[in-house]
Amino acid sequence: MVDVAAIDPFVFRLAIFVLAIFVGYYVVWSVTPALHTPLMSVTNAISSVIIVGALIAAGPEDMNLSKIFGFFAIVLAAVNIFGGFVVTQRMLQMFRKKR
């Protein structure tokens, strides 16, 4: 028997990562080429989920260098999140059936 508890949690994260690459591969190939620009703007928006790291850095009450880094990262990621989703929505509104 393998002792599951002996497996480094890193391995589980690696498993998630590798499986997500496969999911990404199949999902992205199914995206219609007409929507490749919105695909790029929406992937840009969701990759800004890196903001979670910035929020943790800016979280503590006492001021330190890390908190300043966190603040600037929040601003940059927020530009991306709002900008990315709004511009994607703007583009997708144009792809409506018109008759």
Binding site: F17, A34, P38, M40, V79, N80, Q89, K97
Partner: protein
């Protein structure tokens, strides 16, 4: 919120992101997809704010408000023709955010539960190093791409002797500094590493010419994903790992599609030096002559045609002729002509760019077809109307093994009964090669600015 609960919330957020990309498989489901993406982001942010370590909300709310306002205003104002620059600029922000988060984790590792200052776990250090390096390359590389697309600098490739050797040398030094940093956790080494990676990102993109920009943007899209994944490992955050993997593979696939559409290998794009100045390759025109016609001739031919395929290229967007083109298509349809649009994968400056530009002009997406869908229809089509495109119609790609674009898939416009080619002059296109379609018996050149020509045709109809 308990650790298990927030881990599950991050997983849900990751699933929302997967479904958001899945929604883009058709225009009808795409808007719901975007909303799911927003939902995933809200879940991730709220879960993090409920983290016991997050106590002071002032700076966070200020940052969100400032960034959110800037992002929203830009997104609402940006012109669709400027989408490639915008996406490049946004990629650079993800890259810089990754650098800042890596720095924050290094200076306050306790907050992330990865050890204490000077005593960070080796695995976390390696992940941090990767996130930092890829993030920094993404940042400076995207800035160069932005400057080229915005035409702040020339789109010509910047090449100098020993360039690749220099890049290789810097790459090796960076790896060395990275290993030193992981072993010593030295703060100066961290910043030297960041500076080296910034420099590499800059040097990597300057030799790549304007024609290859669609590949560059896709590639940087991919990098921004891998940087996010690297940081995701450091933070042990599932949402970030899943998203990084999705975005990384998405950008890689788009790069592949773009390379394939230009028949260029990924490595030849990276090594650079292709495309830019139109006069780079001198071409012999010989004594061949091209027939030219007027807007009235074109209107007459198209009105009496049964079917027309419009082949738009980036020149259309430059001339801002999309709306006039829509009017022309509508008028022709009212006359009973079957009108469709054929899009080459590299018709715009980024993947899918031309589709967005046509959609913006209210051209129904059902009338817009991709190369594989429509290419076999040209022989049964009365008129191919080429506007603002050139290289993507050049038969040399099929017939001339010496041609720089040999092997590139092209739209077979010359097989249509008549080709109407709107162009300012007989000058060659981006790739600097002459187009034999100009001199064919069934081709009529319409020498004019794209917008003016289309408007004149509409009047004549």
């Amino acid at each position: 919120m308990s650790a298990n609960l927030s881990a599950i919330a991050y997983l849900v957020s990751g699933i929302c992101f997967i479904l958001s990309l899945r929604g883009l498989s058709s225009p009808t489901s795409s808007r719901r997809g975007n909303l799911l993406g927003i939902a995933g982001m809200v879940i991730a942010v709220v879960t993090t704010l409920l983290n016991p370590g997050v106590l002071g909300y002032d700076l966070i709310l200020l940052g969100l408000a400032v960034g959110g306002a800037i992002g929203t205003i830009i997104a609402l104002r940006i012109k669709m023709a400027a989408m490639p620059q915008l996406v490049a600029a946004f990629h650079s922000l993800v890259g810089l955010a990754a650098v800042l988060v890596a720095a924050a984790a290094l200076y306050a590792p306790e907050a992330y539960g990865i050890g204490s200052a000077g005593q960070i776990k080796t695995a976390s250090l390696i992940e941090m190093t990767l996130g930092l390096a890829i993030g920094a390359v993404t940042f400076s590389g995207s800035l160069v791409a932005f400057a080229k697309l915005q035409e702040l600098v020339s789109g010509n490739p910047v090449v100098f002797p020993g360039q690749h050797l220099l890049n290789l040398f810097l790459g090796l030094v960076t790896i060395g500094v990275g290993i030193y940093f992981v072993m010593t956790q030295s703060l100066p080494a961290f910043w030297v590493l960041a500076a080296l990676a910034f420099l590499i990102g800059f040097l990597l993109i300057i030799p790549i010419g304007g024609a290859d920009m669609p590949v560059v943007i896709s590639m940087l899209n991919s990098y921004s994903g891998w940087a996010a994944a690297g940081i995701g490992f450091t933070l042990e955050n599932t949402a970030l790992i899943i998203t990084g993997a999705l975005v990384g593979s998405s950008g890689a696939i788009l790069s592949y599609i773009m390379c394939h559409a230009m028949n260029r290998s990924f490595f030849s794009v990276i090594l650079g030096g292709f495309g830019g100045d139109a006069s780079a390759a001198a071409t012999k025109r010989g004594d061949r002559t091209a027939k030219s016609g007027s807007a009235d001739d074109a209107a007459f031919i198209m009105k009496n045609a049964g079917s027309v395929i419009i082949v738009p290229g980036y020149g259309l967007a430059v001339a801002q002729a999309q709306h006039a083109l829509r009017e022309m298509a509508d008028t022709l349809k009212a006359e009973g002509v079957k009108v469709r649009h054929a899009i080459h994968p590299v018709a715009g400056r980024m993947p899918g760019h031309m589709n967005v530009l046509l959609a913006e002009a209210n051209i129904p997406y059902e009338d817009v077809l991709e190369l594989e869908e429509i290419n076999s229809d040209f022989p049964n089509t009365d008129v191919a109307f080429v506007i603002g495109a050139n290289d993507v119609t050049n038969p040399a790609a099929k017939t001339d093994p010496q041609s720089p674009i040999y092997g590139m898939p092209i739209l077979d416009v010359e097989k249509a009964k008549t080709v109407l080619f709107v162009k300012r002059s007989l000058a060659p296109g981006y790739a600097g090669i002459d187009n034999a379609v100009f001199y064919r018996d069934n081709t009529m050149m319409l020498f004019a600015d794209a917008k003016k020509m289309v408007e004149d045709i509409v009047k004549a109809l």
